[in-house]
Point group: C2
Chain length 211, copies 2
């Protein structure tokens, strides 16, 4: 993957390797080899391995937020806005699968300050969904429910797609997005289905086995 712009080449190689082997299991030597340069040359472009990771996560989060905001611009009612938000979330995570997979798996590689930066961006993104859930519940379109827990449920369904999705697989991104969109909207809707006290028989066993 040679490029006129070595800084971008290094980033692209790092995304491949971090997604494949993980951040800690990937060495600067690995990234240098993939980029066609010596490992010392990496440090001309990035001051440290951690800064390279942060750069990947930061640009991914910035692009994610910009993408959903552009898609939501001018969209009217709450239900359609939620549909657009879900579809936007799925498309971004499957089209930029590796970066998003890294963003979910490798936060522990960040320094404390950088960790806080990324968490702040992630929180801002989550609040977009939480506002939509609240609006929908206030308008009587969605069932009442715990807004944070529901937002985590919605986001992780799609985020997890970045872990198993295969671009050459059975289903297209749009097909997967359509399935998630319907599943999530049905789950949120105030429908014939009772929401609330959640009946099920008590579970008779401990998760820790017979002790």
């Amino acid at each position: 993957m040679p490029s006129a712009n070595m800084k971008e080449t290094i980033k692209a190689v790092a995304i491949e390797l971090f997604a494949e082997k993980g951040y800690f299991a990937t060495s600067i030597s690995d990234i240098a080899r993939g980029s066609g340069i010596q490992k010392a040359s990496i440090y001309y472009h990035y001051p440290s391995k951690e800064e390279l990771l942060f750069h990947i996560l930061d640009t991914t989060m910035t692009d994610l937020i910009a993408y959903i905001q552009r898609n939501l611009t001018g969209v009217g009612d709450t239900e359609t806005r939620m549909r657009v938000a879900v579809r936007s979330h799925v498309r971004f995570h499957l089209e930029r699968q590796k970066e998003n997979f890294i963003a979910n798996a490798e936060m522990r590689g960040l320094t404390e300050d950088h960790y806080r930066d990324i968490v702040a961006e992630r929180d801002a993104y989550e609040r977009i969904f939480q506002s939509l859930i609240r609006e929908g519940a206030a308008a009587g379109v969605f069932a009442d429910g715990d807004v944070k827990i529901l937002s985590y449920a919605i986001l992780t369904i799609c985020t997890a797609g970045a872990a198993w999705f295969r671009p050459d697989g059975r289903l297209s991104i749009d097909a997967i997005a359509a399935i998630y969109e319907d599943f999530i909207l049905s789950g949120l809707k105030r429908g014939a289905y009772r929401i609330g006290a959640g009946f099920s028989p008590p579970l008779g066993f401990s998760a820790h086995g017979d002790r």
Copy 2:
């Protein structure tokens, strides 16, 4: 955390550290220090760091499958079976949070053979949910939908809970399980809500930004 049984102490310390810092970021020295012995003594109990990881993941998966099977024994109709399955899944993942978090995050630390073993166990577990979805659809209780995608959606909602759940937090395990149970059953149900072609406006922008 001293114990009469050093092998179990080492395992318990490793679960704490792998969950907190990650498998690759945790050294044998760290585990030894936490266990109150020298690092060489670890190798009397486990032949390698990778075997220790495998032991944790293997016992977790075995217990997970045994737990859901015991909870499902004698439960009648498909809808109730799905409710029990979801609740069982949530409870296990939140009660044994750290082990499950490791099981999801650290599969890449395994050798090829051990990786295959764990994937086989995970697949067997997923098939339990896929069978329930198929049964429900055949009986007309659940909407038709892609069985694999839906099973991944259901399982990841709860699995992700192991990443953010705090035992001393706002909601109890049972409260979270009830929310997920209702959300998932509503999502699966053939209800007033249309399932299928998934309308939403096309997204006008590329996930890769303006290029």
